[in-house]
Amino acid sequence: MVAPAKKPYRVIGSRPVRPDGTDKVTGRANYGSDIRLPGMLYGRVLRSPHAHARIVRIDPSKALAHPGVKAVITQADFPAAEDVITDLGETASNLKWLVDNVLASDRALYHGHAVAAVAATDPHVAEDALGLIEVEYEPLDPVLSVHEAMAEAAPRIHPHMHTVEMLARFSPGPRSEHDIPNAASHLRLEIGDLEQGFAEAEIVIEREYETGTAHQGYIEPHNGTALWNESGELTVWLSTQGPFMMRDQLARMLKLPVSKIRVIPMEIGGGFGGKIPMYMEPMAAALSRKTGRPVKMIMQRDEVLLGTGPTSATYVRVKLGARRDGTLTAAEAYLAYEAGAYPGSPVGAGGMCMFSPYSIPHQRADCYDVIVNKPKVSAYRAPGAPAGAFAMESALDELAEQLDIDPLELRQRNAAVDGTRRIDGAAFRSIGNEAVMRAAEESPHWNSELQGENRGRGIAMGYWGNGGLESSAYATVNRDGTVGLVLGSVDIGGQRAALAMQIAETLGIDYEQVKPIVVDTDSIGYTAVTGGSRTTFASGWAVHEAGLEIRRELEARAARIWEVDAALVHYDDDGVIRGPEDRSLSFAEIAGQLHRTGGTVQGKADVMPEGTGPAFACHIVDVEVDPDTAKVEVLRYTAIQDVGTAIHPDYVEGQIQGGAVQGVGMALTEEYVYDDEGRLRNASLLDYRMPTTLDVPQIETILVEEPNPGHPYGVRGVGEVPIVPPLAAIANAIHQATGVRPRTLPASPRVLLEEMLPEA
C-alpha cells in the first residue's frame, strides 16, 4: 500500500500532446478497417429479419454459384460448444450462448441475429450474395419487454432455462425456488433489516422507473480481418478493447490453443464496453480457413445497431424511508433488466451502485436478469448503473421536495463516508463522495441564479466501483536516453499518453523521452481489456513497477561504473543517480553507457493490483422545455467528479464530458424503437438519435482530487462514472421546469408532451 502524499509532480498533471496524435490528425493512423492484405476477400453477414423464428433450412447453393463468391458458412462450420461460464471483463457469459450469439443455431432469437456469412472477391459481390442465400424461417411469437417476459404464461425463449439464485455478482448458485419465466437469474443484495428501517421511517415513497434500450454508439463499426494459414495458425487484426480477451473467446469457440492465435489490435474507434465480445471475428476466421485467403469483415451501421451492443432496457422500482429531518432509514429496490437473447445483463451493478453514494443502514435490492427477443446486451460504460441511479436520484429528488429540503443538502445529510457500508456489506475507504458534494455546493453553477420561464435545474449523484485486473508492460532504456514503453493495453482515448506520463514521473525524465507502443498478444503478457475504468490505474501500476525496476538496475550500473557499494548509490526522483563524493549521472548519461556496463536495461511488470478507488460524481444541469413541443434544451451542464489524481487533465475532462453527453442522449433522445413483431425500426444514425454539437452546451468540469491510496500516483478510474448521474439530473431539471416527473426515459417530446398537456 502506498500512501500518496499530494506532492507536486513533474509530469503528472500537465497536458502534453499524445504520442499517437500526429498520425490521428493526418489520417495515417491504422484502424481495424484500414487493413489491406494481398488476396483479401470481403465477408458479409446474413441476418434474421425476424425477432424470433425457427430456422428450418439454409440453402447457400445459389450464392455459391454466383461468380466471385468463395464460401458461405453457418454455425455448423464451428465445433459444438459446451456450456461453460466465461468471464467477459465487465459482464459474464456462457460459451454456448456466446457461440449461438455469433451465429444462430436452430433458432434466431432477435431481429438482426446472424444466421450465415459469405466471403467474396469484392464487397459489392459479397453484398449481392447475401440475397442469394435462401433461409426458410418459421416465425415464433417474440417476447419484447421484461413485463411480458416474466408473466406467468410467457413463452420461454430458452425452454430449459430455470431461474438461478446468484450467491453474489458473477457467482451463480443453485436453481431458485421461485422459477420465473425468462428470468435467467435472481440476485439479492442486502444489509441491515429492511422492516426495521421502514418502521423507523416517518415518510415513505415508492416509485417506478423505466429506461429504453440504448447503444454505445461508437462511430467506428465493428471490423475484423482474419488469416488462418496452412499450418493452422490464426492471425486476427481488429479494433478491440481487449486483444487477449478476444484471443480467449476465439480459442474457446474455435477449439484452438491460444498459442495458435495471434490477435493484433489496430487503432480503435470507440468501444465504451461494446468492443469486447466476439461477433464477426470467428466468422472471418472460418471463412479464411475455408478459402485459404485472408477475409476482411466490416459491419454496416444498421448491423452495428441490430447485432451488437446495446445496453439493457430496464424497469426499476424503488422505495425509500426517511425521517422528517431527511435521514434515510431504509432503501429497497426491485430491478429487472433486459439481457437480450442470452443471459448477462448488468442488473447486479444496477443494484450494487444505486444506493452507494449514501449511508443507509437498511438496504435491499432484488435484481433480475431477463431474457427477451432483442440483441444480447454488452457492457456499456458503467454497465447497469445509469438506470439504477436514475430511479434512486429521481426518488430522492421527490423526497427532498416533499420534505422541503434542498436536494443537494438532502444528499449531503446522507452522504456515504469512509467506513460506510455498501449494500454488498463492504465498507468504503478513502472516498471523495463528500468532497464532490461540497465542490458541487461551492460551484459557480449551483450558486448561479436560473432565470427565465420553462427552465429548471436538476442535480444527481453517481457511483461506480472501477476495475483492477491484469496488466503487463515492458520498458527498455535506449542509448539516447529515451525509454521504449511496450504496452498490452489498447489506447482508446489517450492511454499511451497517460501511461507514458506515469513512467516518466517514476523515472524522473521528460514525457517526450518515453515512446509508447501497443503490441499484439504474442508480444507481451496477458493484459485485460481497456474498459472498467482500469487502464490508467492498473496499467499505470505496471509501468510504475517497470520504472522502479529500471531505477534499481541503473543504481547497480552506476555503482559498477563508480566502483562503489550499490547501497551508497541512489536514484533520485529528478532522474539523477547520485553516489558518494558528489558523484552523479543523469538518466541520459547512464543510458549512453549501458552497452559498456552489461548491456540493455529493461524493466518489466505483470501486475494484478487490488486497491481500486471508487468514483463519485455529481452533475448539475439547467434545461429549458418548450411548452408547445416539449423539446428539452440543455442550457448549462456541470460535472463534478473525484478523479483521484488527474494524470492528463485534458483526457480526464474529455472522459467526463463524453460520458455526460452519452448520458444526455440516454435521457432525452436515444432509444431502440421496435414494432409489434420485434423488428427494430430505427437502425440508423439518423433515427437512433445521438447528441450532436447542437444538442449540448460546453460541459463544465470540476475535478476533485482525493488520491486513491491504492495507487502510487493516487489514480482512480474516471471513464465510467460520468454516465451515471445525467439521466436523473436531467429528469429532475425537467420536473423543475414543467412540474412533470419523467419516470420513463428517454424523455422524448412524445412522452413528455402527453404529461405536460392538461387533461382534456
Partner: protein, 161 residues
C-alpha cells in the same frame, strides 16, 4: 459482374486516375481502390460525417457521392490538409486541446472545420456548432472540439494578419 470505369480527378493536388466499380461510392473508391484510408466510414449513409471530404471546395460526405461523379473534380481529403510537412492550425489545436479520444471522427471534423475556417475565418461558437452538426463524435461530448476550432480561428487570423 458489374463493369469498371476509369475516373480521373485531382486528389490532394495530385492528378490521379483510377479504376472504380460503377457501384463504388467515393468513400469506397478512396479507401478500397486508392488506399487513402484517412477518410473514415462510420455509417455509409450520410449520417455521421466521418467521411467528409472537399469536392471542388465543397464539404460533402464521400459515402453519398458516387465515384463516377468525381471525374474531372478536385478533391481534398484529410491526407491533403497538411502541406509540406506542416499541420494546418486546426490539426495543431486538436492535438494541443486533446480534441480527440479514439480519433475515428477526427478526419471528418478536421475537413469540416477546415472548410468552415476558409469560409468564416472568425466563427462564433454558435457558427462552429452549426457547421459541425453533421459530424458525430461519441467520445468527447464535443467540448474540446469546439474549443480547438475556435483556437484555430484565432491562430489563422494571427498567421494571416
Amino acid at each position: 459482374m458489374s463493369s469498371r470505369i476509369i475516373v480521373s480527378a485531382e486528389i490532394n493536388g495530385e492528378p490521379t486516375e483510377f479504376l472504380a466499380d460503377e457501384r463504388d461510392s467515393l468513400l469506397e473508391a478512396l479507401r478500397d481502390r486508392l488506399g487513402l484510408m484517412g477518410t473514415k466510414e462510420g455509417c455509409n449513409n450520410g449520417n455521421c460525417g466521418a467521411c467528409a471530404v472537399l469536392l471542388d471546395g465543397r464539404l460533402v460526405n464521400a459515402c453519398l457521392v458516387m465515384a463516377a461523379e468525381v471525374d474531372g473534380a478536385q478533391l481534398t481529403t484529410v491526407e491533403g490538409l497538411a502541406r509540406e510537412d506542416r499541420l494546418v492550425p486546426v490539426q495543431e489545436t486538436f492535438l494541443e486541446r486533446g480534441a480527440l479520444q479514439c480519433g475515428i471522427c477526427t478526419p471528418g471534423f478536421l475537413v469540416a472545420a477546415h472548410a468552415l475556417l476558409q469560409e468564416h475565418p472568425r466563427p462564433t461558437e454558435e457558427q462552429v456548432r452549426y457547421w459541425l452538426a453533421g459530424n458525430l463524435c461519441r467520445c468527447t461530448g464535443y467540448d474540446k472540439i469546439i474549443t480547438a476550432v475556435l483556437d484555430a480561428a484565432d491562430r489563422t487570423d494571427v498567421a494571416s494578419g
